[in-house]
Amino acid sequence: MSGYSHSPPGYGYGYGYGSASPPGQPYGETPQAQHQYDHKAQAYDAPAKPHKNQAGRGGYPAPAPSYGSLFAALVPSVFPPGTDPEIIACFQLADQDGSGFIDDKEMQRALSSYNQRFSLRTVHLLMYLFTRTNTRKIGPKEFAALFYSLKSWRGAFERFDRDRSGFIDANELRDALLSLGFAVSPVVLELLVYKFGKTGGKKRAIEYDKFIECCLTVKGLTEKFKEKDKAYTGMGTFTYEEFMLTVLPFLIA
């Protein structure tokens, strides 16, 4: 165990997944810890039930007056009712061949115009994460989840790049990941900064597009781990095959 038990006030996520429990409390077994895992589950699963509050977190603009129920009615009913029209519009825009699915190239184009140039590798990882397959096509429902995650990651980046350098260093990364519901140990943090950062100035720091990749790697691996730890004990059991199949997609992409 890393002993990373920092619980910043105000986050409400507390011990995070896998960090040491506070003294005197059995790891992961207190109702409080349980609650925090549920709370975290919401952070992960937020996209499944889109509502304005969640959206508001990312600095969500109000839908333009032209979007409304008429527009929504034109879309095949694969978007859950109440899906923010911006997401639907985004999807439609991205789905240039009108196939009803967004493939990897369309996604890359769509994302690159949003904020930044995304590598195809990041796109593939994103799609893998949100479709749980290697098919490299994403449909409306998964797209909504992806959209929300990207929004929240972007929000985290902007919030934690406090000096507005365009880079996030190790400390800022720790806080950003915590705000997204991930508590990683200092050892892992160092590794992440090493792998995703570049040296510039005094120390290694992470740029926006790499930060996104970092988030999706952490999210993906954490979710996979949690699948093997249904009792929320902080320990997971894997067979060799499961282990390799779980981690390899994130390593060689």
Partner: protein, 256 residues
Amino acid sequence: MASNGKYGSHPYAPSAPSLPESYGQQHTQYPHGYGRPQQQHNSSSSSPQYSHGYGQPQHQPYGSSFSSSSSSSYGQSGFPAGTDPAVIRSFEMVDRDRSGYIDEHELQQALSSGYQRFSLRTIRLLIFLFKSPTDSLRVGPKEFAALWICLGQWRSIFERYDKDRSGKIDSMELRDALYGLGLAMPPSVLQLLISKYDDGSGRRVELNFDSFVECGMIVRGLTDRFKEKDRRHAGSATFGYDEFMSMVIPFLVSYN
């Protein structure tokens, strides 16, 4: 994160493959094929797998008898006593700027040939796995020696399994090579590995040497890590979240 002891200061470096029998070296140990049918229950040995270096009479575990400038013409502490002079000469050739360290560009240049540029992403992975924890993107003499020897062994494995001498190995040859390394990969994992190297052109997937090194180091390294957690060789292991992340992230192939 515990060092696996094999490389002294390199907590992440996977165990090196041993030379194939054809080299006349005693085929000790073999890393007890993980999951392989006739499993030898050798405990993960703590001696370096690559103990038979390049024709050295006896091996010196790197890092243990670290003496300064014994066989190095560098004049600064560098190679452990007993380092093969060929390795030292290689270091000197590769270290073009004479900094006493090998960085990724020097290593890339050393490994690229007239035909082919060695992939920077594999170089980065290698440097990361072999560097000492305090160094950034470069390796010093001691680490270089370990890296270089390990690469030499991977090279001979590659050549051994590239039966048609095409300079590439296909998925069957990869499976055999991994098996020869004691890694009995479940077909699902092999399939996944192969798909990662598929360029989508529809042509049969083939790995050149640098992809083979990357793939091999990752599979080898992850397997070593997993085995450390599965002392009973039961084929499954339980670990905590931090352990899991610490095991996996070092093998991320980064593009930076």
